[in-house]
Structures are given as C-alpha cells and as structure tokens.
C-alpha cells in the first residue's frame, strides 16, 4: 500500500498544481503507417482548463491518446506535470483521468460496480474505491440510478457515468474528449456545470477536446487550436478578451473628418469603415470618456460605441485562415 514519496507529495500538495507546466510538448510527432498525424508540437500548456480545438482530423484525439500512452510518439516527446510520457507512463496514468469520446463501459455491470472497478484499477483499495464510486456517482447526478445496469442508461447518463469513472480516483489532470456529445440542452448544461466546478475547485486541471466552441468558451481559460497536426493557435482566452478591449466600433453622426483629425491628436489608430462608422484602437492612457469629450468638442454625435470582442469562433476561424500560430 506504499505510495512513492514524490507521488504522495504531488497528490497532497495543491500548490504544486501550478508550478510545472501541465503539459509540455517537446516536438511531439506521431505518424500512423508513415502518415504524419502530429507534426512536432512544441509548447507548454499551463491553463487550469485547456480547450483543445480543431477541425476533424486535426489531431486532437490523437494528441490526447498519445499523452495517455495509447500511441507511441514517432518523434519528440511530451511531459505531464514534469513526467515524461514515455519514461514515466505509469506514473502519469495514476495522475490522470480520461473520459473517452465513444461509448465505453463494461457490460453487465451496475454503475456503482463499474466505477468501483475503475477505482480499484487506479490503485484504490476496495473500501475506498466503493466509497468514492458512490460519491462520484452522486456528484455527477447519478446517485439514484447507481444500481442500474449501464446498458439500461440513456446516452446522457452514460456520459455522466464516463465522467464518474474518470474522476473516481481524484486525478490531477482530466482529459475530457467531447464530453457533451449527444447530450440534450439540460444535460449539456449539467455537464458544463460539472466541468466548471471541477476546474474551479483547483484540485484538477482539465483538457477538454470539443468541436463545440461554446463548450470550450464556457469551460476553458486557454485554448489550443490544432490544424493538420500542427499548432495553429495557443492563447489565453481571458487575456485575448482583455486585449480586445482596446478595439472599439463607433457609429457617428456629423462631420466625421473633424473627429478623425482630433483622434489623430490623441494618438489613436483608426480605420474608417464608411462615412458613419469607425474602428478605433485606443492607445495607452486614452479612455472611452476622452472619446466622448472629443466628440462633444467637435460636435459629433456618438450613436453607438461597442467593444470589438473576438469570440472564440473568430479566433478559431482566423486560425484556420492564417495557418500556424506560435506559442
């Protein structure tokens, strides 16, 4: 029943969560039958919840599977919490939980039996595994249905059971592959709520792979967009949003040219969309209030003023257009 000292320390000390990179990609390449799937991915991912995005075939699932040790890298490597995925595969597996995309369960078992078995396979003693199986099932909302056979579960319930088995051993990193697949809106909301709760608990980092941008936007603070096996974009969503606060869309009435001249005086960059519309980039120290004052002085009405906010969809589409981004 002995636990390696380093692992014990990692499990008990929440401070270590933020210290090393959650995932460090060291030129990770994977090829199947000579066909490259992941092409030399590099970078360290440090978010509490990292959204993995990309079009079909971009390599999202392959990346997760490689990190889980299902596929062997053909080049480079990666580290999870500082442990190499090849040299310390077993140690990594005791730190992670995985919720697969496809239907996956063990037949002819009740949910509690299934989750308990998964807990025991993760190394939990029998009693602890049973206790945590009950807890996990209550936590995901399957408490009342926990003695039912998994075959009788609806798709939404199966998704929740998959989440329960992924968290039963209290992993430090959760890989969630399309967790909201096939869920109806209330079930989807419940799943999103659970993911956010786990993220906000600060007890586990999350890697969420999804083709639903809204899910990622609601749950993740960082996103990694893959395109054709390469990193197209890696960014912090919150910082991206903050940086976008400098961009304003303004609708004017009156002599726009005067207003534009005055803007130059403030040192702001701008682009005229049409005779009534402007895009403005606020420079340091310039506030929205200054624009109102300027407009009043030049006798220009500001009819509409809005921050240009890049939605995740914008970022995604840009990434798809631009090609490779960098970390």
């Amino acid at each position: 029943m002995a636990l390696p000292a380093s692992l014990q320390e990692e499990l008990t000390n929440p401070q270590t969560l933020t210290d090393p990179a959650v995932i460090d990609l060291l030129g990770l390449s994977v090829a199947f039958g000579g066909r490259p799937i992941l092409k030399g991915l590099r970078g360290d991912l440090r978010g509490k919840a990292i959204g993995l995005l990309g079009p079909n075939g971009a390599g999202k699932t392959t990346l997760i599977h490689t990190l889980l040790g299902f596929y062997e890298p053909t080049g480079g490597s990666a580290q999870i919490f500082g442990h190499d995925i090849i040299d310390h595969a077993r140690q990594i597996k005791s730190l992670v939980g995985y919720m697969p995309e496809r239907d996956a369960f063990i037949a002819q078992m009740s949910a509690v039996h299934f989750v308990r078995l998964m807990g025991e396979l993760s190394g939990l003693p029998k009693e602890a595994a049973l206790e945590r199986a009950h807890e996990a099932l209550f936590y995901v909302g399957l408490g009342e249905a926990r003695y039912r056979k998994l075959e009788t579960y609806s798709l939404g319930m199966k998704q929740l059971a998959k989440l329960a088995q992924a968290i039963v051993h209290g992993p430090k990193l959760l890989f969630l592959d399309e967790p909201t697949n096939g869920l109806d809106p209330p079930a989807r909301l419940r799943m999103i709520k659970l993911i956010r709760e786990i993220r906000d608990s600060g007890q586990a980092n999350i890697v969420l792979s999804s083709h639903l941008l809204l899910d990622v936007e609601e749950c993740c603070d960082e996103i990694l967009i893959l395109r054709e096996g390469q990193i197209a974009v890696y960014c912090n969503l919150e910082e991206e949003r903050k940086s976008n606060r400098k961009f304003l869309m303004v609708e004017t009435r009156g002599d726009q040219s005067k207003f534009v001249e005055a803007l130059k005086g403030l040192g702001c960059e701008y682009a005229i969309t049409n005779e009534h519309r402007l895009k403005i980039v606020l420079q340091g120290g310039v506030e929205v209030r200054d624009l109102y004052q300027l407009a009043a002085r030049e006798q220009v009405q500001l009819r509409r003023l809005s921050y240009k906010r890049d939605s995740l969809e914008d970022i995604f589409l840009k990434a798809m257009e631009n090609g490779h981004g960098s970390l």
Binding site: K93, S94, A107, G123, R132, Q203
Partner: protein, 305 residues
Amino acid sequence: MAVYEQKYKRYAGPLTPEWSRFLIIPHHAYRGVFKSKLFTAFFVVCFVPLLVEAILIYLHHNMNALGVMRLQIRELIPIDATFFQTFVNLQGGFAFFVALLVGPPLVSRDLRNNALPLYLCRPFSRTEYVLGKMSVVLILLSAITWVPQVLLFLFQSYLEGFTWFRENLWMLFAIIVGSVVWILLLALISQAVSALVKWRVIASGVILAIFFIPSVFAEFFNLVFLTHWGHLMSLAGLMRNISAGLFGTFAETTTTMRMEGFDGTLREVVLTEPPLWLNWGMLFLVCAACLALLSRKVKAYEVVK
C-alpha cells in the same frame, strides 16, 4: 467528494501494490460468472470425479471397508501413474468445457463496448490486462485440475507413507506440469479467440472448432498415411502425448498393423508417434501464436494506417 459535500476532491489515501492489480479482474469477473446457476451447477459436477478419486484412494487403505464391500480394488485399480494420469486427463476434459463457458466473453465484451481505453488509461498495462483476463480462466481451472490433484496425491502419500511419496515425487511434477500446460493452453486459446471474435456464441464455436476440426483432419491424415504424426495437427493429440510423456507412458511406436498389400502379401505397418520434443515444439508455437494475436488485438484503440 463525499456524497453530502458534492464537490470534487482528490484522493490522497494509500494505494494497493501494483503487482496485485491484475487480480482485480478475476475478483470482479467471478461475480458475473457465478450468477449463472447452470454454470455453478456444472462447476460443482466437475468435482465429482475428484470425489470418486478420493474415495478410491481411501478404500485402498481401509481394509475394513474393502472387507465389508468384498471388493478387490487394490488389484482392479492400482494407484500408480496411470491412475493419476487418467484422472488428470478426465479433469482436463471438464476444464475444457469450463474454459468454453467462461473464456469467450472475457475480452470480446470489452472490445465490443470499447472498454479497453478505460482499463489502459489507468496505471494498468496491456500485459496486466491479459494476465488478469487469463487469471479468470486459470484460477477456475486450477481449482478443478492440479490443485485438487496435488491434494489427492498428498492424501495418498499420507496414507501410503513417506517412502511412497519419495519414490513417486516425479508424479507430482507430472500432475502439476501436465495440468498447468493444459489449462494455460485453454486460457490462451480462449482469450485469443475472445480478442478476435466479438460475439460470444461465435467465439465459443471457434474454440470448439479449433479443438475438434484439426482432430478430425489429424485422424484422416493418420489413416491415409498410416502414421500417428497427424497428432501434431490436433491439440488434443499433442496434449495426450505430452501428458503420456510426463507420466512415463509415452511410446513412440503405439500400434502395429497387419495389412494386406496389393499383391496379396501380408505386411506389418508400424504406426509411430511424433517425438516428444516435436509435440512440445508445436504446443509452444500455438501458444506463441495466441500471444501474438493478443498483443495485436489488446490495444486501447486500433490504429487505422
């Protein structure tokens, strides 16, 4: 993550030793296996020959009972290598049917329900998975083959005395090796087929075919070519020879036949068995093929190249 707290909490308690984790699979599998009353009944029946064996050993040493029943068991059924070999082979037959009932769904169910990634994303290797699944069969078969046979051998030794035990210690080796090789073969074949065929009934059919169809071919080959080398094709034939070799009853020339030739003359044909090493070699090849198949099929995900 207590039920009443409803929040996510990491586990920081002790962990079980890694070496013992493959045993979790049989522990959970037996719940399902013994849910079937029919199987449980059959499994109990598997112990009947062992009971008969125990009674025969007991009667051999109980003069009063023999006198009352007026039986001459000592002369009719001597307790020697052939006695133990007969019962080892008989239990081997029962073991085959137990493996046929228990083995096929073990891996196939997991493959059908995509459960392998759930096992393999944990600190649980493919080897441990295969070992765990094979243990389900191996432990059950051990309980009806070599374990009781060893106990009965020790029972006989206890009644007969230490000298008998010392003189027949080789028999203990034959009992253990003969039984273990057979149940290992059964476990490997049932798991390999289970990994290959996703449907239980078909998998059971394939296992039956693997054991019986080559036996038919082997007999046909033997008849046509007037030899016993056809036994190399048949798993039952291989095991019969290996068992005979272990119990010291193997003979390369098992039968001689008198045949009338085309010219009307009588000639004697000697039917020879393949040498023991070749039987072992073939068995090794079969086991290697099963392991290769398992290694190919037991993966979290099939790689589409």
